[in-house]
Amino acid sequence: MDFMTILQLSDSSLRLATPLLLACLAGLFSERAGIFDIGLEGKMLAAAFFSAAFAFTTQNVWIGLSVGIIASVTLSLLHGLASITFRGNQLISGVAINFLASGMTVVIAQTWFSQGGRTPALSGPARFEEFVLPGASSRIRDIAQQDPLGQVYSELLSGHSILVYIALLIVPLTWWILYRTRFGLRLRAVGENPAAVDTAGISVVWLRFAAVMICGVLCGLAGAYLATGLSAGFVREMSAGRGFIALAALIFAKWRPWEALGACLLFGFLDAVGNRFQNIELLTFLNLVFLFVVLVGAIMLVLRAIAIARGKGKTRALTGPAIALGVGLLFSIGLPMLDPDGGLSATLNNIVLPVQFMQALPYILTVVILAGFVGRAIPPRAGGEPYVKER
């Protein structure tokens, strides 16, 4: 596996992780305020359709994006109305939104465009073009000619749609809002103990509606990115389960923004690997897995070391990433030492994982994570419960 392949995989992971990340952060705001939202999928789908439809008719992607966000926020308000105002069951309301979006988008698309439930293909100003940083090449063939540093710059850092950069910026923004503002504190409190917030004289209903609307805006961005950035137009069911994977990522991340970024990148990476390597040899697959472990371990180690240097966090927090890094390095260095004649490598190389396995991997992982394999995930305590002022 050469350097360019690794770069392309990372590049593809970033692209595929973006809609997951936006949806995951959307869910984070909503669930942290105590409103479970399995309607992420439906909201993304509705936003994808409306953004594509309006981007096509107005030939302006920004108008498309705005309409997509409005559509998604409207569904959010519907969810809020059902589960906050009328204290309905949040899961049922979410399922209803998914069904509604799935049917409605196709019917409206058929009425407006008569193209079998899709929008016409978008081009030019109706689409988010690649955002090329100064001095970077945009075509893969030119990039392959550059030196490694230039390749990282052109392939990985440059050449994404503007929404990818926005999504990445929303992660620290979310962290700041949740942990450094009064609004964030109240939002978290309303998900843990709404009665306490109410006692302090703050409106629980208003806070929860605010959270649900932020969720709508972020889902709108995710949907618009799917239809106008990642591909060129809306097709039936194009969200393809990403809303549910985002929920799994949210649980994996234990409802925290930075961890959400990591979880979404992991799912994006698996998706990218499934696309790139169909019928992968076991050895290559293991190499990839350990490569990822080493990368994540190293990044986490640096981040936590910085936190400790600044007097926050405990030394104990370093053990996890250090073990990951160690195991990854041990494998990459240890395998050739254990296996001087290459017999084991050859065996591993002969075992070919079928494409079905690779494409099922994100879903298998979702099941494993949801089964609680990775630590204990404790949801916000008041999640799923409608707030009743007096009992």
Partner: protein, 330 residues
């Protein structure tokens, strides 16, 4: 009461006259949808051409999910439609069940084979058409690496891939062919995002011509190829117009001709009918959108190969005969 009676009477008269009239033909489109710019749309165009030329009307059903297949066939058969054309290989298993129940109705299935006395099975020699566009790809490629994106991983699509690879190697024996399938479920016909990602990966491996045989997914492949500045090849319908100057050619499969023929035939013979190069059932597209991409030499070479295949001097291996391909693909 009297109103009710006259209404009922009118309804009965209507029903009678409908039965007495000449039976309407019908068509069932597959999951990709009537406007997939590809296979189903081509079938739709054939039906429309028939309606325009004869002034007749036809019934149609667009399937939304797999469970509807049998129901849709029965509904049309019981409504008296004849013949009923089924577009798409995935309708074969449902048709096997339905056909014996309606011995007086003639069914035509495209891309699938059903052995029944009232069914005509139409198959296309996709490997031959793919061979021709493969030659064009081999000649147009500058890097010596070309690629293929298939839809669902089924033998029919491997037939496209294998014919394509043989054509590429015939034009450039040193060439490398990369082949990827989008998925293993019918959703693979409608996933332009994954199609685009696969294409990017192939470009990274050096490909500069990509052939998409993937229904709606192919739109994502063609889009990415145009964005990245490489050539692409469309499928089924002529897709050259989608990105003028960036689509090298299209592997045309005249599904429209098959539908048109079925609708206008007086009697439809049961059995298997093959639309090959000789019948103009498959071929490559040349129009104002790609004329600058294809040189005289390329046309001469491809047309020579076409003549040889028709004359039987050149045989293109058909993947579905034995499940193997003589050319190695990555």
């Amino acid at each position: 009461m009297t109103t009710m009676k006259s209404l009922l009477g009118a309804a009965a008269a209507l029903a009678f006259s409908a039965a007495g009239a000449l039976a309407e033909p019908a068509i069932i489109f597959d999951l990709g949808g009537k406007f997939d710019r590809s296979f189903n749309e081509s079938a739709f165009n054939g039906a429309e051409r028939w309606a325009e030329e004869t002034g007749g009307t036809y019934r149609e059903i667009e399937l939304q999910n797999d469970a509807q297949r049998e129901q849709a066939m029965r509904r049309l058969a019981e409504a008296g439609a004849n013949p009923i054309v089924m577009a798409g290989f995935s309708q074969a298993s449902a048709l096997e069940v339905v056909a014996p129940d309606y011995p007086d109705t003639t069914f035509v299935i495209i891309d699938g084979v059903v052995d029944a006395p009232n069914v005509q099975s139409i198959i296309f020699s996709e490997h031959e058409g793919s061979y021709l566009v493969g030659m064009l790809a081999g000649m147009a490629s500058e890097t010596g690496t070309v690629s293929f994106v298939g839809g669902m991983d089924i033998p029919l699509i491997s037939r496209f891939a294998c014919g394509y690879a043989q054509g590429v190697v015939a034009a450039d024996p040193e060439a490398t062919v990369i082949a990827n399938m989008t998925g293993t479920t019918p959703a693979a016909w409608n996933d332009p995002v994954r199609g685009g990602e696969l294409t990017r990966g192939q470009i990274g491996q050096g490909s500069d011509v990509v052939f998409a045989a993937a229904g709606g997914t192919g739109l994502g492949v063609l889009q990415t190829a145009a964005d990245e500045g490489i050539l692409s090849i469309g499928v089924d319908a002529n897709q050259n117009y989608l990105h003028p100057g960036m689509v090298l050619t299209s592997m045309i499969k005249r599904v429209d001709v098959a539908v048109y023929d079925a609708f206008s035939a007086d009697t439809i013979e049961p059995g298997i009918f093959v639309y090959g190069l000789a019948e103009d059932g498959v071929g490559y597209a040349l129009d104002e959108f790609n004329q600058e991409l294809i040189t005289e030499e390329m046309i001469a070479a491809v047309d020579a190969a076409r003549e040889q295949i028709i004359a039987g001097e050149l045989s293109v291996h058909n993947f579905t005969d034995d499940g193997t391909c003589p050319v190695e693909m990555q």
